[in-house]
């Protein structure tokens, strides 16, 4: 009873602290974004300024420059390898995850503090609600991969909602890279389970043994390309879904923020600012839900694709 009461009290203060943090960020977000748009010099379209990648970090119109390298030429194509804001925030988020999770990896006892409870909740959520229902037999083998995937996407989505920071999941290259990683894990786990020939045999919808040979041949020739195309469209859809959700959410927040903004010449219509900030706070809260939901959906769909590749046996 005593322990229960302590844990309840701890949970209360932890949740309160979290709420306070969120409220603080919410108050910061509209103010900072509006002033960034107002003070900015190099771009005209505030929407594009927020949604694209740059080689500077923008803090209220004050630009911190990032190093620019010479493009590398491979086969006559120039590859730009200079450091951008998305790159910086991707690594900041990833190092945060590495530090926090490696700290809690050492402490096996359940932590009573806020951070430990958050980490425990997320890890148990990934294990019990995503991976174990979908891959009941060998979830232990794949759990590290899904935890990494979930944590990275979750972190990037929430970094995108913090003022001055640019979460890298609004960049199509990042989501495409995540989807390609999932794709390679799907294919390699399928090949590991069945061998190359056995895995290719899974693309045939009808087996030759159970059916009439001619019917099976015709159906397989007609339908195997579609099955093969399904494998290729899955990572594409995965990357576009995450990217478009995040970009659309940010675009809606900015649209509500910029209702009163009439361009550089006209300036602000100050009567509209209060309702537009209120509406954008509402959308911001919705985006907090979407940030979590998209990490969940990405991980869940990856798990389902892997289970299809593994358990698809005739």
């Amino acid at each position: 009873m005593y322990i229960l009461s302590i844990s309840k009290a701890g949970r209360k203060t932890g949740a309160l602290r979290f709420l306070k943090l969120i409220l603080l960020l919410l108050m910061l977000y509209p103010v900072t974004d509006i002033s960034a748009v107002e003070n900015h010099n190099s771009e005209n379209d505030p929407m594009m300024l927020h949604l694209t990648d740059h080689n500077f970090i923008d803090i209220m119109g004050f630009e911190i420059p990032l190093p620019v390298f010479k493009p590398v030429t491979i086969n006559g194509r120039d590859l730009n390898i200079s450091i951008t804001s998305d790159f910086v925030f991707f690594w900041i988020g990833t190092f945060l995850i590495i530090i926090v999770l490696s700290f809690y990896k050492k402490n096996q006892i359940v932590q009573k503090k806020f951070m430990g409870r958050l980490v425990e909740t997320l890890v148990l959520f990934v294990r019990d609600d995503i991976v174990r229902p979908v891959l009941p037999h060998d979830y232990k083998k794949y759990l590290p991969f899904f935890l990494t995937l979930f944590m990275v996407i979750f972190m990037q989505n929430f970094i995108g909602l913090i003022p001055f920071m640019s979460g890298s999941t609004k960049n199509l290259s990042v989501t495409a890279a995540l989807a390609v990683i999932t794709f390679s894990v799907v294919i390699s786990s399928g090949i590991k389970k069945f061998g190359i020939l056995g895995y290719l045999k899974n693309f045939l919808p009808l087996s030759f043994k159970e059916n009439n040979f001619v019917i099976a041949l015709v159906f397989n020739i007609l339908l195997a390309p579609f099955e093969f195309m399904g494998i290729l469209t899955k990572p594409f859809a995965l990357s576009i879904r995450l990217f478009a959700n995040i970009v659309a959410g940010h675009a809606v927040i900015l649209t509500f923020l910029l209702i009163g903004w009439g361009g550089k010449e006209l300036g602000w219509n100050y009567f509209v600012i209060a309702p537009s900030v209120a509406a954008s706070v509402f959308i911001y809260l919705l985006e907090c839900l979407v940030a979590f939901l998209q990490a969940y959906v990405f991980t869940l769909l990856s798990a389902i694709f892997i289970s299809e590749a593994i358990e698809h046996s005739h």
């Binding site: 609600d129 229902p133 859809a237 576009i240 879904r241 478009a244 959700n245 659309a248 939901l293 969940y296 959906v297 869940l300 769909l301 389902i304």
Partner: protein
């Protein structure tokens, strides 16, 4: 702005609107089916919720494809 640009913009807008109709109907059907399923079998609510979010995400993905196309049209015209 000439007439062709205006018509293109109308096309992008109307396309996005039609997609919103379709996606709304789809997600509404998923939601109603999930509510009915939970009402009939409350103990399976966890599994049903997972399937519901999965289906909603697939519908939403299609909707976002089309929203992206509308956005691209807008950008090329502008």
């Amino acid at each position: 702005m000439d007439v062709g640009t205006g018509i293109t913009l109308i096309g992008a807008g109307v396309g996005a609107g039609l997609v919103a109709i379709g996606a709304g109907i789809g997600i509404g059907l998923i939601g109603s089916a999930a509510v009915q399923a939970v009402a009939r079998q409350p103990e399976a609510s966890g599994k049903i919720q997972m399937l519901m979010i999965l289906g909603a995400a697939l519908v939403e993905g299609v909707a976002f494809f089309c929203a992206l196309i509308a956005f691209l049209i807008y950008n090329t015209v502008k």
